[in-house]
Subunit: 556 residues, 2 copies
Amino acid sequence: MSGDRLIYLPLGGAGEVGMNAYVYGYGPKGRERLILVDLGVTFPDMDGTPGVDLIMPDIAWLEARRDRLEAIFITHAHEDHLTGVAHLWSRLRAPVFARNFTARIAQRKMTEAGQPADQVQTVAPAPETVEAGPFAVQFLPVSHSLPEASAMLIETPAGRILHTGDFKLDLAPGVGEPFDEALYERLGKQGIKAMVCDSTNIFSLHPGRSESSLPMAITDLVRAAPGMVVATTFASNVARLRTLAQAGRTAGRSVCLLGRAMHNMVRTATEAGLLHDFPATITPEEAADLPREKVMLLVTGSQGERRAASAQLARGNYMGLSLKEGDLFLFSSMMIPGNERGILRVVNQLAEKGVDVVDNSSGAYHVSGHANRPDLERMHELLRPKMVIPMHGEHRHLREHARLVTARGIATAIAPNGTMLDLTGDVPGVAEKVETGRLYLDGSAIYGSQDGIVRDRIRMALNGLVLVTLIIDEDGAPLGDPWADCQGLPREGRSHKPLNEAIEDELATELERINRKTLDDDDKLIETLKRRVRQCCLDEIGKKPEVTVVVSRLAE
Amino acid sequence: MSGDRLIYLPLGGAGEVGMNAYVYGYGPKGRERLILVDLGVTFPDMDGTPGVDLIMPDIAWLEARRDRLEAIFITHAHEDHLTGVAHLWSRLRAPVFARNFTARIAQRKMTEAGQPADQVQTVAPAPETVEAGPFAVQFLPVSHSLPEASAMLIETPAGRILHTGDFKLDLAPGVGEPFDEALYERLGKQGIKAMVCDSTNIFSLHPGRSESSLPMAITDLVRAAPGMVVATTFASNVARLRTLAQAGRTAGRSVCLLGRAMHNMVRTATEAGLLHDFPATITPEEAADLPREKVMLLVTGSQGERRAASAQLARGNYMGLSLKEGDLFLFSSMMIPGNERGILRVVNQLAEKGVDVVDNSSGAYHVSGHANRPDLERMHELLRPKMVIPMHGEHRHLREHARLVTARGIATAIAPNGTMLDLTGDVPGVAEKVETGRLYLDGSAIYGSQDGIVRDRIRMALNGLVLVTLIIDEDGAPLGDPWADCQGLPREGRSHKPLNEAIEDELATELERINRKTLDDDDKLIETLKRRVRQCCLDEIGKKPEVTVVVSRLAE
């Protein structure tokens, strides 16, 4: 092992919640054999990424070394761990391993993205083992907010790593395996070199609650409702769907699923053998024919997404169903920071219709899928690792987790995206800093966050755009007047002339006195006209827009 | 009084938090004399209002009746109650009345907007009375999160209205008058026809806490901090500034104000005689020369605003000051929904620097300025009004407030913006629905939210823009090839040609086979080229951009 080293390199997920991607490597420096754990996405917003469809980690470092990449492992089926595989697999071309439910979803996404679904291989939980170069990897069941979430037990010549993935300690998760304390305690006794650990809920100070704490309260709520009941949660939270559907059935209601993701997830979970006791569902047409108090809808859109079933029901109707006074809408979910506006839009539209909206502010109708601080401490105790590396979280989460670990006398390091740690010894050390970043999927194109494309969009959105066209004739003189078109700008300004006319007048005046040297030089001419347009707009409407000038020169 | 009626018409603030504007009228139907209480703004966001500076209520209804408008009253100096006056006063031209602190701020804003500051008149609290047509109006002190907040006691021939403005029940608010229960109880005994009441905190179930609950905890926190302490709150929360500054002084620290609003508010409050015991402050230069543990900064930017002092400190330095490991940053504030992303950006940047960030999740470092549910109930009890009209709140707030009031056996009505209520009788009735909306201030221009300007900006931001220019010669034939310019679009697509070249090639091909009829008709030609550009982009980059085509025809 002389000179071989064990490295850890987060490319995404460390310094943010979302787009997880963690590289492990073992071997001589610069020639390590590599594996990738998770390849997720994060979601765009109008603030920073208008028009973008998905945000993914920039995997350029790994792509350049893909001849050394042995395998990709996916811990679970959430978008922020899995969806990047479908869009970036062709850059890596390594086999993908996942458990049954996860693999089915990954295969569907690969197919939708035009990638070979058969590159995704299904692995049973431990003791089944995937040999990947110097690594022997097992999937260990953990509880989370969807089925078959797994920690990765990564055996290396330098010791064993437990990469938790997203997890919680739920002894009765409803669907999927309960958290198996004895298993992790056994592992701890066998010796764990490094625990690379979920940090997202480090600021939640109370012990996490079990999915099994919800059915009674939800059933009581549904039973007491006089009209139609609608409930929303993440479609991937199959245990919650089951809890909600069973509450509906117990309350004498027929259950109807609305939204593509709901159907997909229930079907996939059923096919994977995870949902044998899900109540039979009815169609929207059947639901519309039943008395309102006999219906329960399970709908997509817990985060207020504009196109989801919840938002469409809030605006008017969806698949022939609509809501009214006396109906109940349950958010069996939490607000993901940044989604508040969209969610509150839905809530207020429902309130306008007289619908009673119930959210989780009481804590009775939703539980988190992540380990809270006491649960993290319990996991540290069970595993007794030599070191804990906080992963999956914003900087504040990583820092707080590291602080907690340090206080417990365990070695740690804060390693945000791009920080390569050397885990070979007893204490983690920073080996290298690697360029990382974000890729944007936009339509069918993928480009870098630093490419300026989104910056240009934001500028147009903030400042509006003036487009000027000017023709220069064969003799080098302006042919006619310049023409201006305004986009996203007030129709008129201080002069009460239409803004484009004010600009055109200004430019015509400018051209009358412009010198030949400027007129002959495209760059100078364009710069002069741009400056004039900006000044004119500042005078007219008090702001400077983006300006594009097109000069067409007729051939001599 | 035969035929005279008392009306209430919210133009803003009822159905949203922000941009308050409430009209009251008394007289024969359609000829009522009018007053306006508050004229506030709300703040834009990238999601729905990119590039907009401020959002204001559309006051077209009132503008058309300004000959009947007697006066404008401003309850307090928050932007969502006052700032619209500066930008819309010229459309209303009625005298503005406010208390001392509020009037000073209104006058400054009027001056900055080029409006006559002397139209703002200072009124002392009750018993001073402003006679405004059929109304006699008094300012009654209430407690809130800034000085001299007032309820309006509006005496009318049909009875007395108490318009609460924003308020809380604070018996020891630090700066300004304590809440005077006896005063409101006395008013209740004298008879209140209608209480028009703040609804923003209806979902907060615990009694509100006093500003006086904070100094001890804040002082302990500041005293224990080993490095520099930075605290942020709304600059207008003068009592909090005093609490924070005194905590700093008690802990042996010199206090330095950072941010224009901090200086403005402290100066205005001092000039208004409200801040006699504010500690002397030091300059940023002096702060930089002191040991870190001797300094406390009070900074703007509690909502993560990009240009505020807090965000600049988080990014690097501000006025020569910068933060590092061991410093403490206190958010003595709450997150306004929608601002989470910006605030968390600041928190994470501070965490990266090793700064300890403390927010109000413990509840120890901030109290709300609004009455919680039990406080609202207490107010209902004190005043015993014949009816309660919920105002200032989103739909969900108004609805919940009305539900609470109904459960107490008091008459009520949900009246969102544009709903004119007739308050003449014992029960409120809907008199009329009035067109309302939003105005956008953008640079120096003001336009309507429905004018399509912002919609065009959002489309450019989501879809990118292709600009095509084509010259048609004197004979009606294309002169040279069309020219394409792309903004906010990927540089290249599936063909790996630069996108603009792919478009130009496509259009050149199109023009070769286009028929003369299309070529002669601008509309048809432009439509044909647009369609072609969109299809080409769909093929190349998987999305359809916005397209502008400019056809220049050389004169025959």
